[in-house]
Amino acid sequence: MTSGQTPAVELRELTKRFGGVAANAGVNLRVKAGTIHGVIGENGAGKSTAMKLLYGMLRPDAGDILLGGTRCNWASPADAIARGIGMVHQHFMLAGPYSALDNILLGAEPVRRGVIDRPAARRKLEALAGQYGLSVDWDRPIEELPVGVQQRVEILKLLYRDARILILDEPTAVLTPQETASLFENLRKLRAEGKTILLVTHKLKDVMSFTDRVTVFRAGKVTGEVATAQTDPQELANLMVGRKVVLGLHVPPARPRPEPALEVAKLSLKGGAGSRHRLAEVSFAVRRREIVGIAGVEGNGQSELVQAILHPRESRCRTAGVVRVLGREVTSWAPRKIRELGVAVIPEDRLLEGLLPERPVRENFLLGLQRSRAFSVAGFIDSQRLSEAASVAVKEYDVRPPDLDLPAGKLSGGNQQKLIVAREFQRQPSLLIAAQPTRGVDVGAIEFIHQRIVAARDGGAGVLLVSSELDEVLTLSDRILVMYEGRVVAEFERGRVTERELGLKMGGA
């Protein structure tokens, strides 16, 4: 164990460049042992890069990493793991079809006489899981488990390898409030046992309630370090962005037009194999110039609902119901025709559904618009116009770095999201379906995206907002529908419900 004085982790003048971009330009960071240390900063500020350097996944161009005062020079994550560092990535690194158990063992297989000793590993893991109350279905393929459980698996993976220093990169971005609460409860337990935790996050609320100290990144540098007890969210937000940020946007009330942008009538979906939830007689309408928020714990039918609206033909298990988009019944339409009516979509899972990670930003900006009149003439793509529009949009939406040739997968998470938002708004939508639109996005960008959504509404679009972020639903929605087990169980007008009430309804009360 390290003494009280020497920090458990210290980064000194850490520098890392990618081509022309200095992702880290002299990062200094000290973390005391046995604390939860928050790391915050704008999208692309270099948080993940610093963490990957610490974890040995990237090698610094200059600077030092010190653990308990001794200098370390990792050649690979294996070295870092051997020294007790563990990391849960912003985008999980799990092998989809393998079971939870095998995912944990992967890379650290307990071998006895040349074969993997699964029973022994299982016993050890079950003990660990019991100790922290992290229950997991060990034998199901990991891809079938909810994200919250996938994350538990990632954490158990670290504990199984006896990590003493845990790095969590935006662990709560994809979690429900309940899952978040239980995660932090566990982190506290781990802290009490003397583990050191680095928590990268965009959620100032979480920073305020669970960390001991906070380090703020901006543009590859550390711009401040404060004790959590001596700061407040507004100050942190300002430190992050370098200007005054409006937390809690004021949204003027809607003046909806009578005609609906989206109507869903008595939509029912039988659950297919593997998915528990279905939709039961879901009916609602989104008028033009109105934002309807769907609140609910993830996995209560929201994803199925969005799928049923956008891919009505493929929703094979649909038993009944009608979907009308902008006055047209689309229940048997091809997805492309629906999108061409003027439907923009911000998908829930940006890496999987929103982007071609290996393709350049330019092509990602084209995705879905490749047959639009803006960019194509008789099936040929007008690359000149595409480049122009893409560079304008990248500037307007502040995607950093503004490099059209960079593979989209190399943008930081929040910048990927901004790219998707930029692309979808390019359609000038009459109906916008936004699922978790600000997941993993920094406070400045949240403010920006929220303003855009409200502007789209005021420009005449109907907006269906699906979010597990209560704040977001409460701020933006003119009406709120609560989904629970595939049903709409409650409906509220703007301002007529408190966070508490909403939380209770979401829990099925």
Binding site: M57, F92, L351, E353, L367, Q370
Partner: protein, 361 residues
């Protein structure tokens, strides 16, 4: 830049390794190398034969590359080209009276159609029935071979020949040979192959359809979410792949033998996989790789006569070594000390494993 240097280096290393093998077999590698170069490029006729061998490889290489861009592995180019050639020969044998230019155009179009259909079948099976195209294309290769034997031996058999082949096509079908190459059967099929490469390049890089094909190959989920129908795109891509392979029949039947001869292809379809791999699934790369393999095929043919210890089969050794060098991705990575760690192939559990299969770099 790296995209060009890497395969060129790989070819060089592969060739050197191959020459080392001949040295191990008791030959003077320098001598072998000279025979190869002379065999492939020594005279107008030799160059012509190199081009003649390269032509079908351009078609099959493009075929594999187009399918691959859509994330599909076309092992079926062999069957597709067999059917294309058979169809062209059948048209020529059944209506021998037609004259040029209608005759060759008709036969060519039929070859294209036959290959297209033969490619579309596994595309449809994959898209709508979910059965894997690798298995289906392999099986269809056997079906095509069987079908070709039946037609050639029982339906339009050549009565004047002991060989398993169809009746000769009518005189109006034949394609003239370019005089430049000392009698080598270099016909209009070569410029057609280059044109095909150009068209594929335009399709893939410039059109909405090409973009959709690549999008499906990159990420099915993202393409689907963007309103693209991945099934439809897969069928189109496989049909295109099949059509490209089917065009092999033009050079072989109309431009060379004037009939369908069973077993005429020294496995051009499978060599197409290697060509696409070496050419990095890019049309220009495919053309270059096809020329290389054509030259190897021609050059090594001389080894039978001119050397004591090695025969033309060394060609396969060279091919294999070159492919090994090209696919040694890890080595290249290590040499470039790339940041492969950072954006892992399997970010985010669910998408990872699926997206990972068969990713050529």
């Amino acid at each position: 830049m790296k995209r060009i240097i890497q395969p060129v280096l790989a070819v060089a290393v592969g060739l050197i390794a191959g020459l080392a093998v001949t040295w191990g077999a008791g030959e003077n590698p320098w001598h072998v190398f000279r025979i190869l170069v002379k065999g492939a490029f020594g005279s107008g006729y030799d160059v012509g034969m190199t081009l003649f061998y390269a032509t079908p490889l351009i078609f099959t290489g493009l075929s594999v590359a187009v399918a691959f861009q859509a994330g599909l592995f076309n092992i079926g180019a062999e069957g597709q080209l067999t059917l294309g050639a058979l169809a062209a020969a059948a048209v020529g044998a059944v209506w021998p009276g037609l004259g040029s230019p209608l005759a060759p155009v008709l036969a060519g179009a039929v070859a294209l159609a036959a290959g297209t259909a033969w490619g579309a079948i596994p595309g449809w099976l994959r898209a709508r029935r979910g059965s894997h195209e690798v298995i289906n294309t392999i099986m269809l290769n056997f079906v095509a071979a069987g079908l070709a034997s039946y037609v050639a031996l029982y339906m339009i058999k050549n009565p004047d020949s002991q060989n398993p082949e169809t009746r000769p096509i009518g005189a109006g079908y034949g394609l003239a040979h370019f005089g430049l190459f000392g009698g080598a059967p270099v016909s209009a099929a070569l410029p057609l192959a280059l044109l095909a490469a150009l068209l594929v390049w335009i399709l893939m890089g410039r059109t909405a359809l090409g973009f959709e094909i690549r999008a499906v190959g990159q990420s099915e989920a993202a393409a689907r979410a963007a309103g693209i129908d991945p099934g439809r795109i897969r069928i189109i891509a496989m049909a295109l792949a099949g059509g490209l392979a089917g065009l092999v029949g033009i050079g072989e039947v109309l431009g060379n033998s004037g009939r369908f001869i069973l077993g005429f292809s020294p496995e051009y379809g499978f060599m197409g996989i290697a060509v696409a791999l070496l050419g990095r699934n890019q049309p220009a790369g495919v053309v270059a790789a096809a020329l290389l393999f054509g030259a190897l095929h021609k050059g090594t043919a001389e080894l039978d006569l001119e050397t004591e210890h090695v025969t033309r089969e060394v060609s396969l050794v060279f091919q294999a070594l070159i492919i090994l060098c090209v696919s040694a991705d890890g080595v290249w990575c290590w040499m470039g000390r790339g940041e492969r760690w950072s954006v892992g192939a399997s970010e985010r559990g669910a998408g990872g494993a699926g997206g990972r299969e068969m990713r050529w770099k």
